[in-house]
Amino acid sequence: MLGRRKTGLDEKSNPGVDRGTMDLIEEHPILDFPRGEKVSFFFDGREMEGYEGEPIAVALHANGIRVYRETAEMHRPRGFFCAIGKCSSCFMVVDGIPNVRTCITPLKPGMKVETQHGKGCVPEAEE
């Protein structure tokens, strides 16, 4: 129920689907899904597959990942919600940058996507 949690996210939060499978719609009576090239990326160090150019959040969802971040105060899990870059639910750390709107940020090969805990940390600017 609602309330402060003693423990945050754990292994059970994001079991995911079996490696090498994705929750994809294979046959649709009306739509075709033109997909980009299949690429691999990393979610919290786990290698996963997705399609280049699709939003990161969509690739994660297809891999069975539902929890994308944990809130700062109440440590509540957050995931996909609006899918139009407006609600901040799907903020994650992508290649070291926190608060990335993963629902409208395209997936690139080798991306390192991490669960965001709290507000995240902005990396020091490079010289």
Partner: protein
Amino acid sequence: MKTLSTEILVIGGGAAGLSAAAEAAAAGAKVLVAESDLHLGGQLVKQTHKFFGSKDEYAGTRGFKIADILLSEIDSCKENVEIHTNTTITGFYSEDGTFTAMRGEEKYFHIKAKKTIVATGAQERLIPFPNNDLPGVYGAGAVQTLMNVYGVVPGKRVLMVGAGNIGLIVSYQLMQAGVEVAAVVEAAPRVGGYWVHAAKIRRMGVPILLRHSIRKAVGDQVITGAYITALNDRFEPEGEETYVDCDVICIAVGLSPTTEILSQAGCKMMYVPQLCGLVARRDRTMKTSNPDFFTAGDASGIEEASAAMVEGRIAGLSAAADLGYPTEHGKLDEYWGRLQALRSGEAGARICQGLECVLVNRWEDVSDD
């Protein structure tokens, strides 16, 4: 910082924005379309059903095909149109008339425009219930994006909250995608959407529970179920709660217009329940109280995509005309005729009531407060 300049900035590349861009570009104006999503088409690209309305607004054509039609229209005057996807307009500074824009998460720049058409669409509403923040509670638009744009299965079993057109259509789309819909709950005593959509999902065996609502979502880290309950005529829960096994709770309880930019531009705003929220006052040309800003589509009041497209055309036509581009005489009246036809039904009567409050005949007559 880089500054892009254009004659007409269209914010939003959905049904209204694309129509506005096509119309203005055809009249000869230079148009820049800024779209926050990765691709154009807005909600149109997520619609698998054939549209109603009139032939002028592509009745009988599936939504995603209508997006293609608009895009090819824009392509035919592409020398006048510059498209920026993955680009969010983050603010408007009236001191010097500058828009701030962001491409992706990292690249910031400025835009200056002589006229601006705000076709920013809408955002999903949410209703309060315990655990409504858990992953698995998704807006109806998000579910459509997952399954109809990217072909990803949103879940195994879905509880739909809301039996308006969106709730009904998305229920049907879920079944098209092979996902089970446990039930549709609707707090009102009757179905809000078109009967034909309701009939389709009833024929497929999905219960539509009127006078019912969700009491709470169940789940530790993610949604694993929900409790629903009947409501009395004061919308209070009545009787026992029923458990529904589901991993997605799809929220289709309505939309609110997205109007921040209009407020920042100092446009006179008005809360109009029939248009589902705060919207800009506008005249027949879709011009707001700030003569350089126009509004169209869901941002000007929640209505169907067909009407959004006509409003977009009106805004595009008017903005181009204000810049001195010759436009066909009588076109504005023709577009208003089309709107009237689209608004002739029961839902349209409500829209017309709302418009009566918000529509301005002469700006001189509008007081300053």
